[in-house]
């Protein structure tokens, strides 16, 4: 069955209605979800801070705007598909990823250890899950991919066109983390 999709989108506190049209052209309401007041950036900040504090047991704060994102050496990416599609990515230096893994496992983990990559992927997965669970009506209508990890600093990530991108820069114990949500429209 072929289908196409219409969306009504407003940025803040908006009600989004997704309509699936079947092959005979008749609109069939499928799902509706509501973006909470504050929008995606606030939601991302809350979800990321909550999860980092819960899973690492540390205080999470804002990173000064002057902090450069050039020192990233590891990136974890989790895809979102369904009624919301896009990518959530978490970038940080390898040392920050190792601290994150060490905190999660309660033992010292080296930056080059496979657990470090795995921990970064796992935490991005949980942040993405928490983010969508905070959007009423969306949790059940959006699936997550298994995480992908990129190691090394010599690369750039580009969002596809027609996307909305929000980022938050956080720190824990002096270690920086950049979390970005790219949503496809």
């Amino acid at each position: 069955m072929s289908s196409n999709t219409d969306q009504e989108v407003n940025e803040r506190g908006a009600r989004l209605v997704l309509t699936v049209r079947t092959s005979d052209g008749a609109p069939r309401p499928k799902r509706s979800w509501t973006l909470p007041e504050g929008g995606w950036e606030e939601l991302l900040r809350i979800a990321a801070s909550e999860i980092l504090e819960f899973m690492l047991g540390v205080q999470v704060g804002e990173l000064p705007e002057s902090a450069s994102c050039n020192s990233t050496e590891m990136t974890a990416m989790v895809g979102l598909a369904g009624e919301l599609s896009g990518v959530l990515s978490l970038r940080c230096p390898a040392a920050a990823a190792a601290t994150l893994a060490s905190k999660m496992l309660g033992t010292d983990i080296a930056p080059t250890d496979a657990y470090t990559r795995d921990a970064l992927g796992e935490i991005s997965n949980v942040i993405a899950g928490t983010l969508k669970a905070k959007v009423p009506g969306l949790d059940d209508a959006c699936l997550l991919s298994t995480p992908t990890i990129v190691c090394g600093g010599d690369y750039h990530l580009f969002s596809i066109s027609n996307s909305t991108s929000v980022s938050v820069a956080l720190q824990f114990e002096g270690q920086p983390l950049w979390i970005t949500l790219d949503l496809h429209r």
Binding site: L105, A114, G121, V126, G129, A133, L143
Partner: protein, 123 residues
């Protein structure tokens, strides 16, 4: 008690294992699998008392694992607790209808793990 933890994330397997120990459960053996396919083999070759399984995994996901587990004689009566990031109601409901006995949403505390599995172990 022998516990099987099925998750494609080695970190999450260690976290579940650590949570079970911190919760004070008497665990003798912990077996690990990174997908449902591997877990099915382990169940057939070992005596497992409790299974924790992720839902979202490559190769064979948690739902298919639970589905196939039900047809194994060796798996009869083993309680299965699903671990999910998404809390996606339909997938959790599907897992429960296939035979899972409970679920835990990530992130979780050792106390939450203990609370979820205590009734299963009593039974």
């Amino acid at each position: 008690m022998c516990v099987l933890i099925v998750d494609d994330s080695s970190v999450m397997r260690k976290i579940v294992q650590r949570s079970l120990r911190l919760a004070g459960l008497d665990i003798e053996t912990v077996l690990e699998a990174d997908n449902g396919e591997q877990a099915l083999t382990i169940v057939q070759q070992n005596t497992v008392d409790l299974i924790f399984s992720d839902i979202n995994m490559p190769k064979m996901d948690g739902l298919e694992f639970v589905r196939q587990l039900q047809s194994l004689e060796a798996a009869k009566g083993i309680p299965i607790v699903m671990i999910t990031t998404e809390g996606s109601q339909s997938r959790v409901v599907e897992a429960l209808s296939l035979g899972a006995r409970g679920y835990i949403r990530k992130p979780f505390t050792p106390d939450q793990v203990k609370e979820r599995i205590a009734p299963l172990l009593e039974a």
